[in-house]
Symmetry: C2
């Protein structure tokens, strides 16, 4: 059986099973809180919970240099990993990068990559402490970020959603995917709109402060919507043994996306991916507190239900069960 036949998510399940079958009584395993299958790995450190995440960007798969500069790449390679720390409610601390580049790469491009990477690191108070370089035919950047929960003893975990929880999202999902479509299809729009959309795709801002506020407010269930809102909601429902209903009319749509992508806007918001916004669930009273505490736009878009694995979208008075849900490696759709 080929990997492309089972798809990324089943592959991760398989890997998770193999790895968990090899657990031992050694200290690191005993201290582990969350292994493969959440945004970050998490374990009990000496005095606080420690977090670690790794994510790669590969030329031709996740980006290409037709529209992405080396500086964009550096920024994004770090930002998507910081977003995983944000999705646990953690504080990022240290970053390592394994950079694969062809031998004929100009060193000014390498410099631009690290300019983008270190700017992002600076903005989110992360120290760049190590790495590795390799000569490879296609550019790839594999980044590890280590973080901590500080004084917090709870995580934004995927498995903590409960029936009756409200579902909310930060920012405007679909904006990054609209930016990608604009860049790849050469869609013309006003300067401001164009900048906003390309920034959303090329220079995502991880919701670091927001994730920490959510944890402090008592929110226990969250994820970043890098795979697409529905796809990541499915991760939450699966880990929490619940279902969900999304009210598509409530989805917050960026003005420029609404204007230039009209009917596609809702589908971009549901399945676009690459937004690095936070999707989280909480009982109504905690949700109210979270909405008050967060400085960024936050919108309640649905409810967690008891129907295991069932995700419905209510739209134009209809209740739909969506099929195509978002980004997945390997599987053709």
């Amino acid at each position: 059986v080929k990997v492309s036949e089972i798809g990324e998510f089943k592959l991760v399940d398989l890997i998770s099973k193999i790895v968990n079958s090899t657990r031992t009584t050694d200290v690191p395993w005993q201290n582990l809180l969350t292994g493969i299958g959440d945004d970050c790995a998490a374990w009990k450190g000496d005095t606080s919970i420690q977090l670690a995440t790794v994510d790669a960007l590969v030329e031709g798969i996740h980006f290409n240099f037709d529209f992405c500069t080396w500086e964009d790449l550096g920024w994004k390679a770090l930002a998507i990993n910081l977003s995983d720390i944000a999705a646990m409610g953690g504080v990022p601390r240290y970053a390592l990068v394994s950079l694969g580049i062809p031998g004929d790469t100009d060193i000014k491009n390498v410099t631009a990559f690290y300019r983008g990477f270190t700017r992002c690191a600076k903005q989110f108070a992360t120290a760049v402490v190590g790495g590795d370089t390799d000569a490879v035919p296609r550019v790839s950047a594999t980044v590890t970020v280590l973080g901590s929960m500080g004084e917090q003893v709870n995580l934004l975990a995927r498995g903590n959603a409960r029936p009756g929880d409200l579902i909310a999202v930060t920012g405007c999902p679909g904006t990054a995917a609209a930016g990608f479509r604009m860049l790849t299809r050469g869609i013309n729009m006003g300067k401001t709109a164009s900048k906003q959309l390309s920034q959303a795709f090329l220079r995502p801002l991880p919701r670091i402060a927001e994730g920490q506020i959510l944890v402090k407010t008592g929110v226990r269930s969250g994820i970043d919507i890098s795979d697409g809102l529905l796809s990541d909601l499915r991760h939450i429902c699966k880990a929490s043994h619940t279902g969900a209903v999304i009210n598509a009319e409530n989805l917050p749509i960026n003005n420029s996306v609404a204007r230039y992508f009209k009917e596609d806007a809702v589908s971009l918001a549901l399945s676009g991916g690459e937004d690095y916004e936070l999707l989280f669930t909480a009982p109504p009273e905690i949700m109210l507190k979270a909405e008050r505490q967060l400085a960024c736009p936050v919108t309640v878009i649905g409810t967690i239900t008891r129907e295991k694995g069932k995700i419905f979208v209510s739209y134009n008075g209809k209740r739909l069960e969506p099929q195509v849900e978002g980004w997945e490696h390997f599987k053709s759709k």
Copy 2:
């Protein structure tokens, strides 16, 4: 200027300069002990020194499936990172792996990869806690290992060698390179020799226990010889502002390597690379203690000198200044 024109080591210097120019007063930077340029990054954790390292294996660059099985690859991808923890004298704790594979990869190969990876993890008491999978044309495994110095407050650092220190090496350098040559050139030898040499290349054993013993014994300067003995000795000399003399007659050569590679044995030992043995330096009295404490073969092979950057090899009564020194990405030799 192209990366291939400056080579890997100058590229790392360049990256190190860019990154260090962006240091801030943020907590992670303040706690940092060792950034880019040693075997691991190291920083002050809440109660002990924390370590992190990342290293990638790429198909066609570091291995190919003509002689390397998927299980070998899994083992080695983790082992080479554990070796970086060993080279600081640390205790490995957690591993994350970013695995890039083509979509048409059979899942039994993925299973074999994780079998090798988790076996190595188990043997060295490391928990496999996270990762990432990507669809890419060529197989690559980028591994991060996190570790700790436990109760130790000193590291095996590259910059701590002092003139007058003796230089020693564990095991028999050149064995892995001989194994690689045997596998790629199809050299016939006895079953035992063949197994020993291929294991040295495909299933290296990181010197985890040995690194910890060295630190406890008071050794402060060390590195693993993954790039080749001379090349890694140069890293030590550069960071310590010293020179070195190696007595080639003293180099410990594996019996099978001596038998099947005769005159090449010394050059394999000096420049072969991929051995994952430890090279370390210490004043004579500490070296004596270290030799007594270590259970593995350990051989004194030279002395650290005052002549900055000068590395000499004494061989057959001659004092040579070697040119080709070992593995380096990007640069053609």
